[in-house]
Amino acid sequence: MKRLGVLMALCFAILFFAPTPAVAVQQEIKPFVQGTYQQIVSARQGKPFILGFWSLSCGYCKVELAMLKKLARKYPKLDLVLVSTDTPEEEKMVSATLAKLSLNKAETWLFADGYADRLRFEIDKKWYGELPRTYFFNTNGEVKAISGKLEQGEVEQWIKEQYGLR
């Protein structure tokens, strides 16, 4: 019976302390509504992160997401928040796209307000909806916005600077 006890303890240890799976679970996608942007930013005061907006109908976004996947694996410290500007009707496709890219480690959101203008305005008055649209939040609170597919070298440079990596 002693052996059983040891084995049980081992199993519980496995159950409770196993790392969160990086792959193979259905991506949790949270609804992005009014106030969500502020929520994402407030939760990360003083911490660097990348906030990336993308959509299923944006070919360049797929290329960028694949690149971000590589960087997320190479730099586990990278805090990546991805927001799909598609609609709740498209959640299955959004989820499948993220799962295919194994981007599960990123925090993922989906626009859940049929009045997308309102969400965009809250995020950035000067963003017209072009995608991909990426915001780099620095440790000092500065934000840099870039429209269009990013260059991997530039993103890596930013990650190294912000996370103190060499």
């Binding site: 990086a22 193979a24 598609d86």
Partner: protein, 415 residues
């Protein structure tokens, strides 16, 4: 017996421990577990996505002042008419008798032109894979009671993108359709090469739309998902404008007259260098005096927002662009219509609370402009604003989720 208990318990624990199972599955081949863990029928999911209602409504007046509307509902394009400026509408008639998946999101919409008793319709049919489509055409010669079986205007039939059609009908009844086409990209990729952007193609029908002639390439390397625009010049040749790709990624606009002589000219010079397609195409109107009026959007760092320019020499050169719209209010999707020497511009803005359609006009062929004025508003989703003309009157045509379709008179030419 005790060993069996251990084994059963251990098996149950592992089974109840998806994290452990997942980690094992994830080793070795990245992403391999995903396809088995979350099987999604992509085609079905895209179909569900297409099923969401489209707010895109297009409009045109016939010569008798009847307003004709084309809208997408479910798997059909529907046409209706109104004799009271859109307040009441006739029972909609199906254009495509056979159900089709029809694109009505983003810059996609069904187009309608009514000339000399014939109703011309073009639209994009989705082909079952993401970002694919065929350009479809149908017409009615019995006053909208029935429509011809749609024909496909693109003569390349690969399951690729032929989308973002624009249509014009000239005085001879020749029908022109231009669209963005990925056949050259497809051909390059088959040879292991690359092709930047899409191409613009056009097709012409001189038999009233029964058939379309061989497709003609207008330009290579153009922005992939922005609407094209077309208008007919006073010599009956159509003029097409689109967002081009200059150098590797400068997404400014180009224009060409389809007279077989003119080479595309550069319409805009904001030098917007962006590796993205903004889904935000231009608009074009050609006045009875032959002046070209064009409007477009750019988000280049130095020159951004909405722009207008005109050409008095058939597009060879354009006036210095007028920059308009409140840049802090997301000005978007400008549309232009000329009525003689009067020119009207409308566009969308969002002030944080509601969406407004703003307009301004010129009485001297685009040389000087009135101050912007708010013409209509809504507090939820809406279509892009369009302009339609009837006799010497000009109307804003706008569909909104809350208020439905509205036709608002915004000006008239005093002759």
């Amino acid at each position: 017996m005790r060993n069996l208990v251990f084994i059963l318990f251990f098996a149950a624990t592992v089974a109840a421990c998806p994290a452990l199972a997942a980690d094992h599955a994830g080793h070795g081949k990245a992403g391999a577990a995903d396809s088995t863990a979350a099987p999604v029928d992509r085609e079905k999911a895209w179909k569900e996505m297409l099923a969401k209602p489209s707010l895109a409504v297009s409009a045109d007046f016939d010569e008798k002042g009847r307003l004709w509307l084309a809208a997408i509902r479910g798997k059909h394009v529907y046409v209706s008419y109104s004799d009271d400026r859109g307040i009441t509408q006739s029972v909609p008639v199906k254009v495509n008798a056979e159900p089709e998946d029809i694109l009505g999101d983003g810059e996609n919409r069904a187009k309608i032109i009514v000339r000399k008793g014939v109703i011309y319709i073009s639209y994009t049919q989705w082909l079952g894979k993401p970002m694919t489509g065929d350009i479809r055409f149908s017409r009615s010669t019995d006053g909208g009671k029935s429509f011809s079986a749609p024909v496909t205007a693109n003569d390349n039939r690969e399951i690729i993108s032929h989308r973002f059609d624009s249509m014009a009908v000239n005085g001879k009844g020749h029908i022109y359709i231009a669209w963005l086409d990925k056949r050259d990209q497809s051909a390059a990729e088959k040879k292991g090469g690359k092709y930047n952007g899409s191409a613009v193609y056009s097709a012409m029908s001189d038999d009233g739309g029964t058939s379309f002639r061989r497709n003609v390439k207008i330009a290579d390397h153009v922005c992939e998902c922005c609407r094209t625009a077309m208008a007919v010049d006073t010599d009956d040749y159509p003029v097409v404008t689109w967002r081009n790709i200059y150098d590797s990624n400068i997404r400014d606009h180009a224009l060409v007259k389809l007279d077989g002589k003119m080479a595309p000219v550069r319409l805009s010079h904001e030098n917007w260098n962006v590796a993205a397609c903004p889904h935000h195409g231009p608009s074009l109107s050609i006045a009875s005096d032959g002046i070209y009026h064009a409007t477009w959007f750019s988000n280049a760092p130095q020159q951004h927002g909405l722009f207008y320019a005109h050409s008095t020499n058939q597009g060879k050169t354009f006036s210095s662009p007028v920059n308009f719209g409140n840049f802090e209010a997301q000005p978007a999707h400008p549309y232009v219509l000329s009525s003689g020497s009067r020119v009207y511009l409308v566009w969308k803005e969002f002030d944080g609370e509601s969406t407004g359609i703003f307009g301004m006009h010129s009485g001297d062929s685009g040389k000087s402009w009135s101050a912007p004025e708010k013409l209509a508003a809504t507090s939820d989703a809406s279509d892009w604003p369009l302009l339609v003309g009837e006799s010497n009157r000009v109307y804003l045509s706008w569909n909104t989720k809350n208020e439905g379709y509205r036709l608002i008179e915004i000006g008239s030419e005093n002759k």
